[in-house]
Amino acid sequence: MALTGVLRPGHVQLRVLDLEAALKHYRDVLGLIETARDAQGRIYFKAWDEHDHHSVVLREADTAGMDFMGFRVDSPATLDKLAADLKASGLATDMQWIAAGEHLRTGKRFRFTVPTGHAIELFAEKEKVGNGMPYENPEISPDDLKGMAPSRFDHCLLYGDDLDGTVKVFTEVLGFNLAESVVAGPERMAIAAFLTCSTKPHDIAFIRHPEKNKFHHASFLLDNWGEVLKAADIITKKRVSLDIGPTRHGITRGETIYFFDPSGNRNEVFSGGYVFYPDKPPLTWTDDELGRAIFYHDRKLNENFLSVVT
């Protein structure tokens, strides 16, 4: 097996102010599939082509934002090894094991805080519930999909202060590669990092920002530009708060649209992007070309996109 270690983003747990409103958004508008509710009242969802039990968990709270993001690793042995490596690295804080079952149908998770203040988890076991189709002679999609119906939870973009420290955790301990970065000023200080553990241009990304532990968006994958435009139609039809798009990113080359859930957490649906192999040279953008890097078509920076976070 060539893809080892950390395999992919496995889940994100978000705080919402009104669980019922959030349910309608994530189930009926975004089009995730509800898979469970737990004793704490959290609601679990998966995207249709994910086989694991859940990838999005919503928790009602008095603030919006992200509780944590979790990554699936290839085995329990890798989970133990990476937990030990994180402890030895001295780069992460608040390290703890979360007992199996705390998230429904999920094995034990190792939770730690990266220098930008975000809680990140690793886990090796989560029950496979399938994608609604047989494993032998399947169709190409299940019936009765709703809303935008992305096929998977793809990545998060997070904001925090110690960008260099967080990049170090992901690249030096967890085996991620830096696919793209943005640098600013004559000193070329890194202000954004797009990190991959797979063949995608990013599995998680960070932007330098004065406050710790801020959430910019959780992103979900669509098939093509036509589906992104269809998502734009749904955003208006369902009176969803639009952020920006449809447009294209220079960074990652994704075709994209951004909008907000009813508690103000930003979502993205996107398609496209290139294939990343670990020997691909990283791309660097300079801040004087940032407009084109972020929004390739209108080439203008957007203050709300850059500064509105939860």
Partner: protein, 113 residues
Amino acid sequence: MAANPCFSVAIGNTQERYACRSDQTLLGGMEQLGRKGIPVGCRGGGCGICKVRIEAGRTRCERMSRSHISADEEAEGYVLACRAYPESDLQLQAVARMARCIERHLAVTRSPT
């Protein structure tokens, strides 16, 4: 069916006034002023950029993030304009980022030509 009542909202910072229906948020009504400098963020009570203080009049509010409106502030009349609906004519004062945006753009609009 009776139309929703419409109230007059005065923005203390800029001496502007706009009409806002009782089923429309204070931010939604303000957006219809159609000028630059209305800081519209998430429209969901999560990001905190549309913070204002209600100086006169009554509103009803949906849930707002405690990261941006503490219980004390809520008691003092602070709200996020994207979560507050008018129940009478109102006087509001934009604060923090909302104030900076709205005042800066008004200054640009009114600068001599």
